[in-house]
């Protein structure tokens, strides 16, 4: 199936731990994104990559480090997790004349 897939679906961890979320798209898109969605469903852009190059970094704490080994993959590593990092993280991709295609999200809970 053509899609944006991200893993894991759920992540429950304690404060101070480090965790990673992986994302892959097989749509042939050049641009990939990480969005954070809060409890009120507001989607806020975190990072945007175009052809493996970082284009947007929206004042995200440097505990968050994205990595794009190739244009089909965009991973997110988070160091020293804090309670306020609890949210749903969506990976997405887009092409020149295509809308955003979302992964199914990763629900991160920090206790």
């Amino acid at each position: 199936d053509t899609a944006v897939s991200q893993t894991p679906k759920y992540l429950v961890t304690q404060m101070g731990n480090d965790k990673s979320i992986k994302c892959e798209q097989n749509l042939g898109h050049d641009t990939m994104y990480w969005y954070k969605q809060d409890s009120k469903k507001f989607l806020k852009i975190m990072f945007s990559y175009n052809n493996k190059e970082l284009i947007i970094n929206e004042t995200v704490p440097n505990r968050f480090s994205p990595k794009s080994p190739d244009k089909a993959h965009l991973n997110l590593h988070i160091n020293s997790l804090e309670l306020g990092d609890s949210a749903v993280y969506f990976c997405a991709s887009s092409g020149y004349n295509s809308p955003l295609h979302f992964g199914n999200g990763t629900r991160l809970t920090v206790t």
């Binding site: 994104y33 989607l43 284009i55 969506f90 887009s94 955003l100």
Partner: protein, 113 residues
Amino acid sequence: EDKVVQSPLSLVVHEGDTVTLNCSYEVTNFRSLLWYKQEKKAPTFLFMLTSSGIEKKSGRLSSILDKKELFSILNITATQTGDSAVYLCAVGPSTSGTYKYIFGTGTRLKVLA
């Protein structure tokens, strides 16, 4: 600063009603405006509007973009309980090369049987 504002924030209607959801924006030089429906999981794509004044229609849903007045509307006719969701509007990406879509806060629609 680029901004997308949706109204109303929430709406409760009865089955069979018609609703109009609004999206206004202050974003310059963007390529497209997108509408999404979000239930419990990921946002699902509804419409992509790139030109002003063109109506996109799919069944009971339709949308139009007014680039001069900087807004878009999403209409849902003969609403059903399955239309209950958060509807999201997004604008972007900027044609200046900054690749991002900016989302509004969403409109939470509840349709009562």
